[in-house]
């Protein structure tokens, strides 16, 4: 009898244990909450009257920021344009599909290829990508602001409501500021872009538009020579200037921003920061010991780029002789000289006196002319002397074999900047190597 009662009680307990009416933390199931969140997120994304502007900082350490204007449509399409266009100074409207998903959290994903893929495209980076993301994990969301983190590379994506429908106009204003910086660097009279502080401190300042980053080099004279400190700083542009994502600090000077003044085409620090100005300097920021020897001991090189005034001398010669390709330097036994390469494979040259470059000081050299040489002359259809004694050719010769010689600058003893001593607006860069022809 007792056993029967116990069995019944056990059965009752068993049924009690099977009660599935557990207390719910949420009124809805997780799937229902995800579905509701998708609807809510889509409403927020599509409801902004002027669309959104996203400030993107890619996940890679040395890639700068860009802004994307985006308009999300109900039909799953997003129209977008960014101020990052390394191949073009004009912003363009692009489109992609987008999805709101739940993966490691609520995610906004750009699901077809667009400008948003630039930093996550293996084609432009040897397969590795540049730290970009197209799947964005939502960390915070409200009607006015969305904060996301890239799912793979952990980049930062901050959405705020756009204040204009004219996205392209807004982006082109920003691109003009970037274009001004690039223009100052590559089309100025002088060779050395420098950030110059009020106290005289100078920092070499090279902007790389492909990475949206500035490489700065600080030179300090020490007992052992010049100490070189390099850093790469990510930047972002807006319509009034450029900002460093992490501030630049040099000898107690701190700079986080340069304002652009279109009237005098200048970049200067705001009044609340250390006073500094972006300039293009005629002289190297430091004299590097041994640079002349390093240049002289190189065996082969080419002129890789030049400033606008040397370009003005080179262009007429190129127009006169369309097969002219480039100027090279070679130091090969008795054939040392400045070579004028013509396509496809002609290499006549202006031979150097004694087959040597003249060293004027630790950082100055001079080329001294000896004679013209049409190497294997029976293969040439012309004589180099005929071409270089034309006014167009002589103008180049006057620069290369100038009596004043060149000031030399190089940080790596591979890329050398040569500045004509009596006219620093004429400069060119030579990429040199140790290997002979």
């Amino acid at each position: 009898m007792k056993n029967t009662i116990l069995i019944i009680l056990a059965c009752l307990l068993a049924f009690t244990a099977c009660d599935n009416e557990v207390d719910e933390l949420f009124e809805q199931s997780s799937q229902e909450r995800i579905n509701d969140a998708k609807i809510e997120y889509k409403d927020i994304l599509t409801s902004s009257e002027n669309g959104w502007v996203i400030e993107v900082i890619p996940g890679a350490e040395n890639k700068g920021a860009y802004s994307a204007y985006v308009t999300f449509n109900d039909d799953g399409k997003v129209y977008l344009s960014t101020d990052f266009s390394p191949y073009d100074y004009e912003a363009e409207i692009d489109s992609s599909l987008y999805e709101i998903n739940y993966t490691q959290g609520m995610t906004i994903a750009f699901t077809t290829f667009s400008q948003m893929n630039y930093f996550s495209n293996p084609n432009n980076s040897g397969g590795t990508g540049l730290g970009g993301d197209v799947e964005l994990l939502v960390k915070e969301i409200s009607d006015d602001k969305i904060v996301c983190e890239g799912k793979v590379n952990k980049g930062s994506f901050i959405f705020t409501k756009a204040d204009t429908k004219s996205h392209i106009d807004a982006l082109n204003e920003v691109l003009k500021v970037e274009e001004a910086l690039i223009g100052k660097t590559y089309f100025s009279d002088y060779a050395f872009p420098v950030l110059q502080f009020e106290d005289g401190t100078k920092v070499s300042f090279i902007y790389d538009s492909y990475y949206r980053a500035v490489s700065t080099t600080e030179y300090k004279n020490t007992a052992d020579g010049v100490e070189i400190n390099k850093s790469i700083l990510r930047v972002k542009f807006d319509k009034t200037g450029m900002s460093f994502i992490d501030s630049l600090e040099v000898d107690g000077n701190v700079v986080s921003r340069l304002d652009y003044n279109a009237t005098d085409n200048s970049f200067k620090t705001p009044s609340d920061q250390s006073t500094a100005e972006f300039i293009i300097s005629p002289l190297p920021p430091a004299e590097i010991a041994g640079v002349a020897d390093a240049f002289i001991n190189s065996k082969y090189g080419t002129i890789s780029s030049y400033g606008k005034n040397f370009k003005a001398i080179m262009d007429p010669f190129s127009e006169l002789y369309p097969l002219f390709a480039e100027i090279q330097f070679s130091r090969y036994y008795s054939y040392s000289g400045i070579t004028f390469k013509f396509k496809p494979n002609d290499y006549p040259y202006a031979k150097l006196k004694d087959n040597e470059i003249t060293k004027m000081s630790e950082s100055e050299i001079k080329f001294e002319f000896d004679t013209y040489v049409d190497k294997y002359s029976n293969m040439f259809k012309y004589h180099i002397e005929d071409r270089l004694t034309t006014p167009e050719g002589q103008a180049i010769m006057d620069v290369l074999f100038s009596d004043s010689g060149f000031s030399l600058f190089s940080e790596d003893n591979v890329n050398f900047t040569l500045v004509k001593k009596d006219d620093p607006t004429i400069w060119f860069m030579m990429y040199m190597s140790e290997s002979g022809l």
């Binding site: 199931s29 229902e32 579905n35 799953g76 399409k77 077809t112 290829f113 293996p122 590795t128």
Partner: protein, 299 residues
Amino acid sequence: MVYNLIKEIDMKLYKYIFLILLATTFVACDDEEDLGKSNIVIDDTKNEIDQWIYDNLTKTYNIEVKYEWDDTELENDKVLAAPALDKVLPFLKTLKKSWIEPYEIHGGETFIRTYIPKLLVLVGSRNMNDDGTMVQGTAVGGRKVVIYQLNEFDPEYQNSSKAFLKRMLHVMHHEFGHILHQTVMYPDEFKLVTAGGYTSAWMNVSETDALSEGFITPYSKLDVDENFVETIATILTNSKDQYDAILLRGSSAGQKLLRTKEEIVANYFQDVWHIDIYALQADIYKVIQEMDLEEVAGE
């Protein structure tokens, strides 16, 4: 006596209670209960691309095409990018004309519907390896084929795009060949033709050396299955004259071995699948030659 009576009543009571409890368990198993609205929401709205895929590939051939970014379908250790919207339909239309339709004509509707890969995943970017080589396509289990580099397909440039299409068709014929031999194995005699020539270091072998050793491509030296499907893919992505010209690049001994393999492949297609591979080869070549990519893309 009274005690026994009470005991009898108690026993009946317990039995009733037990039966009632038992009955409630069956009530709980009632399958007529309304479970309410499903909480799984499927977005079935179709854009122009989705609709074309559904009408021309899914409904007709049971093929699903994924062109939107879905990293679960791709290699985790690679950086890849999705295709651009304007590349998807032009590529799929040309692929249908130059791969599916000729096979359907020669193999029949049932054949193509049964064996065609069921999932096509499109990737816009290249798939780069650490050694600088590129993967042009991959296949998983005879079900899924992944095509890369779609963003480089531009029908406006007919020559380069036809060359691209030819490379992609090589991938499709290669992977489809795997499905076929995994369904009905090729004859053992194929394995014996160049039995000692296989190597995992196939990438170090030049095309000419491979041909001279009796392998149609360097990759076909990896193993017998790859050899078999590379032979199929090379036959079907070239005209007969072009195929003959490829063979001539190798030694005469290599040519002889390759002709033996070609004959086994042709017989396999004829005997097992009732397809004249040379007629299929001619039709595919004709389609590619005559196809105006811009016109097809715009259809």
